[in-house]
Subunit: 339 residues, 2 copies
DNA sequence: CTGAAAGCGCTTACAG
DNA sequence: CTGAAAGCGCTTACAG
């Protein structure tokens, strides 16, 4: 039904190999006039190469599969996801790769999941914040090139994260510097590396600075705005409440700000709030959000480059931690004097 | 190198057709014990079906290609894009489709571009805000199922937009109702339908309401925050300046707010600002943004469903306009009395 | 420089 | 219920 190299070959009375080599410009030489006629006929017949057939033979699809954590609804609403994807897509263009989003997740079995990822369409897989307990990475390792963004380190697989420990330390040091001692945290999902590490780093920093660490000032917000609102609302309703709260991402911080407002609290006067990521919204919120910036685009792009390097046979599986940067805005100030 | 149905057939001493039918559960019946042995052997050998080979024969990839307007850097930073993509991805999961992002654009020739999109990997193409002068749609029509989001209507192709005319009318009516007569606009890209229609609707509404329409209060902002800042800064520096500005999207509105602040103007006291889209940032900005909401997720999802219907042979190419909704927030108020 | 042929991993008529 | 074979549209040794 669609035009193939066979049609061109028949039309011209040459072999399909000649057509193939002419179309590809090599590697076998083709007589100039033959090549010209092949090209002209291809255009005349409106020939279009079939990427599938070529990939089936060459084993290269020039397509990278992106595997998000899990398909929660509104995946693309996540600033983490879009930030990384941005870097990935930009790098993909430079590297001549297309991006296949694996949006279907067969939760019934890891095997089905893994099979779906190994169906031949992608030359490599880029995992975005994989769950630490996901068996997928182990099942996949060695079977296809893989790079990991914001996941746990796996031997022989390149991985890219931000320096969570240092980032959280910057945030807590900032709050302590402002005079806070009663500091709480809204942590993220604890099956994700970023969730685990930021909570751990929070505890470590509080211990280091001798802050007033109370378990009721530690709550989970699932990395989502609503979770931040709910957990924050509960934490701020208690007495005594913290004078500052570190949130493991900006989305929870946004929810927390709303919770504070709902309780009639002023931000930052009554409660200082720090986020993480420096999502696009952070600078536009009211008040603008003090946050720990991680370079998500660079992270996604670096993972993409490492993946392509791996596909091309370049050895090396770097584990890179990107530096974080504390961005001080208007959501933090010194605590009020105790009454 | 990887395990194929041939390996299973050889292992069991049956034909590849039997293996194929057993694996697929039909359509040809396979004796129960044979089927069980095939399945067991497939698992034992760690067999994984090759999606490419199957697609090559069946002509169905269960993959939809998403074609963004153009690959500007930071594509995924656009709330329009992520909003639509969100709906697309959600619908894709429901419909059992994967999403291929066409990120490489061969700007050198429309033919090369079209060929890339017709390479066999996608069963259908979903265009996001295609340029009105792009030859791609005409070249592609009839060769592959297509659905269009926020593009111009093409006969026989399903298309989905919001009701730009009514949306802009709502915005201007709101401003006029507040007492504004000196109203300007920051328009978007004029090679996109949304850009064209919103500007046209602005002129129409101003004519209808008898507002003070001046050409120097009409400027282009390219749909980007920086463009909104630049064009807004210039417009607000002039004298007389408008008391209200309608922006063709929220990103430009955000830039315009910054421009107003940079000039020492208060929002909304000195200048009322209305956006379009109701992007996630709109409610979090300071001041929160009055804007015309269009249901981007629904729009993306509807386009996806129409595309799949088309692939499945269901006739009909609906041209649907989604209703807009005016969301009144804090960036608009009555103009100050003239001094 | 060129052609005939094998083969990538599948599906599916065709013939029992 | 099953096997042998053709074929999807390509690339690439093999043999001139």
């Amino acid at each position: 039904m669609s035009v193939t190299i066979k049609d061109i070959a028949r039309e011209l009375g040459v072999s399909v190999s000649t057509v193939s080599y002419a179309l590809n410009g090599g590697p076998r030489p083709v007589r100039d006039d033959v090549r010209d006629r092949v090209l002209a006929t291809a255009t005349a017949l409106d020939y279009r190469p079939n990427h599938l057939a070529r990939t089936l033979i060459t084993g290269r699809s020039f397509t990278i599969g992106v595997v998000p954590t899990e398909l929660t609804t509104n995946l693309t609403k996540s600033p983490y996801f879009t930030g990384c994807l941005d870097g990935i897509v930009n790098a993909a263009e430079v590297l001549g790769q297309d991006v296949l989003l694996y949006t279907r997740f067969d939760q019934t079995s890891p095997v089905a999941f893994v099979n779906a990822l190994l169906d031949g369409r992608a030359d490599g897989l880029l995992f975005l914040a994989p769950a630490v307990d996901s068996p997928a990475l182990e099942l996949l390792a060695g079977k296809i090139p893989i790079a990991i963004a914001s996941g746990k380190e796996v031997p022989d697989l390149p991985s890219f994260t931000c320096d969570n420990r240092h980032g959280v330390h910057q945030a807590i040091a900032h709050l302590v510097g402002l005079g806070h001692t009663r500091i709480g945290t809204l942590h993220g999902k604890l099956h994700l590396v970023d969730g685990i590490e930021r909570l751990k780093a929070f505890r470590a920093a509080m211990a280091e600075f001798g802050g007033d660490l109370r378990e009721e000032w530690i709550a989970g917000g699932d990395f989502h705005p609503q979770g931040g609102f709910d957990a924050g609302h509960q934490m701020l309703s208690k007495s005594p409440r913290p004078t500052a709260i570190f949130c493991a991402n900006d989305e929870m911080a946004a929810g927390l700000v709303q919770a504070a407002y709902a309780l009639g609290l002023a931000v930052p006067e009554d409660i200082s709030i720090v986020g993480f990521d420096d999502a696009p919204t952070a600078s536009m919120m009211h008040p603008s959000l003090t946050t720990v910036r991680q370079p998500l685009e660079e992270l996604g792009a670096a993972a993409m480059h490492a993946l392509i390097a791996q596909i091309n046979g370049d050895a090396g599986a770097p584990h890179i931690q990107f530096e974080t940067e504390l961005i001080i805005r208007k959501s933090t100030t010194s605590p009020k004097e105790d009454p």
